[in-house]
Symmetry: D5
Subunit: 173 residues, 10 copies
């Protein structure tokens, strides 16, 4: 009886310590660069959120998460700070891999099967031409860069207490 009670408690304790901590399932690793496993593992062990890492690196949370998923290149500065923060050996091949050139776009299938990511895809599917028409009227013919690009995710709470996600996509024209 005791034992059972303790088991339940220890998991509740885990949950209390890390209410929302993005980690990575081993079955997803083959779509990611080799260093992703190491980074996520260290992040989980040290119970760090992307917000905390972003603050330490002086970059946005989205940029840091993109780096973990192999979609962005770490500067040597980033790599050094990450190694220190996550307790990784600076001499490990990992550090030099992170400053390599990313082979982007392989993190998941398209169309996305993950519902949350599908919603973003659906926005492009439904509003794509509306975005284009408004941009064309505002900027003329041209294109918004998806590379020279910054992004943030913020939380807003409306008057009824309901939370809203606010994603900002900022790309050079």
């Amino acid at each position: 009886m005791e034992g059972q009670h303790q088991r339940r408690s220890s998991i509740a304790a885990i949950a209390a310590e890390r209410p929302n901590l993005a980690s990575i399932d081993p079955s997803m690793l083959d779509r990611l660069p080799a260093y992703s496993a190491t980074l996520f593992e260290a992040k989980t062990q040290r119970r760090l959120t992307f917000e905390q890492i972003a603050e330490a690196l002086g970059r946005s949370e989205v940029a840091v998460a993109a780096l973990f998923y192999g979609q962005a290149r770490a500067t040597p500065e980033d790599a050094a700070r990450l190694a220190q923060l996550l307790g990784l050996s600076a001499e490990s091949p990992l550090a030099s891999q992170m400053v390599g050139f990313p082979d982007r776009g392989r993190a998941g299938p398209m169309p996305p099967v993950e519902p949350l990511i599908y919603r973003l895809y659906e926005i492009v599917q439904n509003y794509g031409y509306a975005f284009k028409a408004v941009m064309n009227e505002k900027f003329g013919d041209g294109i918004m860069s998806a590379i020279c690009f910054k992004s943030t995710v913020e939380k807003e709470v409306d008057e009824t207490g309901a939370p809203w996600v606010v994603i900002t996509l900022k790309g050079k024209w």
Copy 2:
């Protein structure tokens, strides 16, 4: 010689009158609801931008453009104001079509072949899991609505004078 000069001028005049006015090519009409052709034609004839229409309807530019592309439903209010603004007969079947239920998602192929829209798709492809991880850490497990959703497109100019597009996606969690 005169004639030539005049021709050139008249086109230059057209260009001067409508520097950036989103219209629709006939070859795209079979992907859109029947009323899109009428709306775009009237918009072109009256030389109205989405910004002007949005102001008249009290909605965002993106929402108005989405309505023109058949991705959003007009309220009876919207329909009445649009009919007035564009000089359409309120008794025409168009009005009742606009307040019908949209069959969304058909405006263009996926993956997009239009480069500007592809850039948005690429953002989802590359940053999808990064967005998910950050949202999960900020909001827990859940989803951002692509339906209970608002969006704006703004223009910013940086210190070097270069223009940036700022897209804001705001969806209920």
Copy 3:
């Protein structure tokens, strides 16, 4: 001024008369049997909901809507009642077309691009194996028929006043 006011009123009037009346956009007709256009047009002119038609035919709303979209076969009884209700000539080729054998499955693309229908698809994608496992434990090896099949859509309101859709799928094992 008068005129404008009237215009707005007449559309508001239309909206008042038909708050929620499913119709069909002409651009969708090539995916449907030839009689769909006629049925939907008559339904719109007579301002009938599927609920009203279902009551008159003694069938479920989903079954009637499926018949309009060419996914179900009308019995001669159904055809006769529909012809009467919608004011169609019983001698028209339409009547005999409706009692033909439907060429099912062409109403829209798969995966669905329409967000509402995509949500149903997503349920199959995410919960498919969960449904299978539970059915196998309850019924043994076998299959649920999608043909010998009934379905209803109901509206429920929870204690907070929020509406819920309740879809019931009932298939022979």
Copy 4:
């Protein structure tokens, strides 16, 4: 002769003990999160049905099965109860994996090749627009959530003794 008889009996005995117990074939594991293998193995060894587990957790059978297939997130409560019920170590990485954020939608290919799951897909393909039309008439423009969503599977027997599956899908509008 004896030996043969016994062999047959022992398998018959197995069958008698577990008439219908959903398990998982090793060849399917690479589509599932790492903890699925452990959960299913323990479920098989303890000869527990989803019905029994659902009762112990106070959740629906579909929700529990979805959790086993990595499509739903366990609450810390769920994780603690599951660990106890299945005899898993609460300190194992499994527990913390189960309360991670699921990477949904990878359990099987779409269109489904499994006939039972295909039947559900076929319902969406054939009746998708019928569902949409009826929902639009009942609720107006909008969408049924596939995330804020509950589901049950029940067994009914009609007057001729034939079994019917009744799936209820309940989603917030």
Copy 5:
């Protein structure tokens, strides 16, 4: 009242005269050769089943239906008999079209969206390797012709009164 009664009767009468008569919906015609429309129209007007036509031509029902759908070539004999049976002018271009070389395989999409045809596809998907293994053991390495090929569809009723479809596929090895 009279009128209504009559309307219902006339459709019921139609149904009585043609309980099961395969026809073709106009929306399907663009997937078929030009003569299909004429043949099906004449078949419907004369209320002929494929069984009756097959008897008149001395061929199997499946072969005749395949000819109507443009999947088989009519012999001059077939064409002459069909013209006579369906009241078509023998000098019409139709006759010479029917004895042309069919451009097979375009009657519908693959995978099939029509549920009845999907069931046949599913048999190939699930049992394909089982058929191959049994054929290889019976015939050695080789192939069953899908061209030098005959097929019948028969109806059987089992002891409980339930109907069964029996399809026989006979191909040269």
Copy 6:
């Protein structure tokens, strides 16, 4: 010289002993359930044809082959007889796996790349609508079950000595 002669003979001897024995290449195993490898290996070692196994189990050859490919569920009776016939331990996990619920449809890609299986696919592609039309005229609207379904493969020799494959597909309507 002797040696060479003997080598040739021993292979010829193998061929003489097993003129036509379906086996399975290791490269195909990842598409099949875990027990398929064991069953095929034992079948090869004991030099049993599906005909011999089918006779021992009292089932059709196609059903037995489908079981080997993981497309059908073994009854406990089947499992016990197979274990005895193939010399497998009845206590092995294999036995309980075989009476699990199959995850059907994964044995090979669709469209099939194997020419023999492609021929069956081609029959569905070319004759699908012909089968449907004939079935509809014979049975009315409905569907042939691909689950409540039996199948045989027979060999016929015509008057010129040429072999024909006769596949019979029998499904409940």
Copy 7:
């Protein structure tokens, strides 16, 4: 009675006059250049085979057929001879269209649904790497041109009287 007899005869007569004359079904025309319809129509009216046309033009049958299907460019010589042979006006836009640059590759879908063409596709699928290996050993690394390319189709009859098709593909290395 007389009439019937005559009808049958006239079709038989047609068949006798043109035992094997490739024509084109109207439903295929949208995949072909505009002049294909005219060429095939004239060929049918004059009852010319590709063999006869090839002889008149001094080119291979395959080349002529490819020209009719819009896959090859006519030289002005070819165009002039074809116009004369088929009785076309040399001033018609057709002549200049034929000497335009073909937009190749649109004649049919890939993978082919036409069984005869699928057989050629299957040869590439099954023997592709075998051809490559043999060519590499004979020619070294390189490629066989599909543009600087000639092809013939011949008929051979073996000792048992069975016909064989012999296709020769000759491409510059």
Copy 8:
């Protein structure tokens, strides 16, 4: 310096010994049957060309290469000769695997990504209907077998010294 010179020489020596010897890269093995690796390895070690093996077996080079890629079945004679020629143990499971029934069509993706094989695919895409039309005029309605089929690859040199590949495809009608 010496060392360097020797290194270069030894590789040049290798090249001299085997100017054109088709081998197989390990990354391709998972698309091929298990015995392909062994056959290719032995072929490379003994420095045999397909021409030499074909001569020893009395079959065409294409047939032998197809056998190496798992697209054709070895006769027991072939297997015995190959075992002798390549120094394989006749008792190894390899021999019995080679006389098994091939699971054809998996050697590479379609459409081919290998440029040399793509050229053959392109010939089918561009000339498919031309081949069909010429065959239909020469043979009537029917099909060329891709199974009862022989093929050769020859080298021709034209008057300018340029090499041409001549592929002959000979299939029973």
Copy 9:
């Protein structure tokens, strides 16, 4: 006889006047904007090459051809000069359409079926990662713009007299 001779001559004359003049087949028009038909028609009637038009507009040939295919936007200057050069009315809707915002990417299917365009696609398929690696080493992480982009096509003749195409792609990093 005379007539024949003249016919041949007149076509030869056409060919002499326009040795190489890119035009457009009507069957391709539905993939292009509405004004493409008019532009190509006028270009053909006036027998103008892209080189001549490019010179008149002061732009590269590739840019002008892209404009004709609807992939680039005409400046008002371009539109005025084109209208003059091609004899189009400056007041026609065409002029304003050309200065609209192009809906790019629809000119043809991907992967390309046209062999010439496929070769360019194949270069991307085969050399894509090689280009990326070299660019990354030369420029660091980043991207080459496909929008802020210029291109030319030149002809070179090597010492053996063989012509070479030289395509230059110049994009901002």
Copy 10:
């Protein structure tokens, strides 16, 4: 504190030594030939750029990178020089693998998901027909070889200091 400082420095040092050195992530290796891993590893260890290797081999950078990615065949000369430059044993199987015949086209998926490579793909998608039209007018009907083909990548800086990539594709006509 010291330690941290050093860590940061050592990574900065790495970055300083290799500002831009293309390497390969292990997760990409299964798309490449077996020798790619060895080549890239040696290149990284010796800190060689493709420019340096190209100079040593007397070939273009693109050609060398293509060789590393398995898209080109090494001459024995190339192999010998590479072995020397990278310190590989000339007797290793690697050397003989490199002079084998490449199985081209497998380096990445199409359409490309890597943004930099997608830009090249987009150029083909958007400008494909423009390139074809200009080439046809310059060269007549024909094709540009993608095999008998050379390519360079150069860096240019414009008057504003902005870098431009200049890719030259030169293929035999």
